[in-house]
């Protein structure tokens, strides 16, 4: 299951999607908005995506772990829009017969999301804002 949405994510529902009797291991990862970054007090984050491509890339990542670990049961949900401190931005649930594969595959999903999926976040902190990973990291004045 691949889902990109502006609605809040429900990790329990998403985890249930991959729970099956043949899977002895379920790994669920939550990405959560934290309250500070590089010593700055974060107020909120803003996520946006090139959604058709992001969905396509997430399907591709799920296919890669199917081929590499024979894992059929993967659920990836990413939230967009304004997220406040403590809210869940990402849920990745991976289930497999044994824990080693589930851990490795979920790590692979997370690394891939960080590198290739066209989703961006802007940190809005006290005194400014900045796109994370952008070439101009300096604090732009808030408007």
């Amino acid at each position: 299951m691949i889902h990109i949405t502006s609605e809040p994510l429900n990790p329990q529902e998403i985890t249930e999607l991959v729970r099956k009797n043949g899977n002895g291991a379920v790994v669920t990862f939550l990405g959560v908005v934290r309250d500070q970054s590089e010593g700055r007090r974060v107020l909120h984050l803003e996520y946006e995506a090139y959604q058709p491509m992001a969905e396509k890339m997430l399907h591709q990542i799920a296919q890669e772990i199917r081929e590499r670990w024979a894992i059929e049961d993967t659920a990836i949900a990413h939230r967009l829009g304004r997220l406040m401190i403590g809210e869940i931005s990402l849920v990745v649930a991976v289930a497999s017969p044994h824990r080693k594969d589930a851990f490795e595959a979920s790590q692979y999903v997370l690394d891939s999301i960080k590198h290739v999926v066209p989703i961006w976040k802007k940190e809005v902190f006290e005194g400014g804002e900045a796109w994370v990973g952008g070439e101009e990291k300096g604090a732009a004045p808030a408007h």
């Binding site: 946006e48 995506a49 090139y50 058709p52 960080k114 066209p118 989703i119 961006w120 976040k121 994370v132």
Partner: protein, 80 residues
């Protein structure tokens, strides 16, 4: 030929719009397109770190574009 450009994240903010159509000579590439965009939108980021996607797939910035293509310049991603 005419292609459609969509802007996201820092590119969207710097361009001040999320979408623009551009007329290009036949055989023009994403690199050629970016040169034109920089003239049209001087505030676009100047670094060359952005990748390019054509029709929702990462693409070669030197490969010719085609009529009706949707082109997106993809600055460093930061999902998660």
């Amino acid at each position: 030929m005419r292609v459609s450009v969509r802007f996201f994240a820092m590119y969207r903010e710097r361009a001040g719009t999320s979408q623009v159509d551009m007329d290009l000579p036949e055989g023009a590439t994403p690199e050629d397109l970016m040169a034109r965009l920089r003239s049209a939108f001087p505030s676009l980021p100047t670094g060359s770190s952005a990748l390019v996607a054509v029709n929702s797939e990462y693409a070669d910035p030197k490969a010719p574009l085609h009529q009706g293509d949707e082109v997106v310049f993809i600055p460093a991603v930061s999902g998660g």
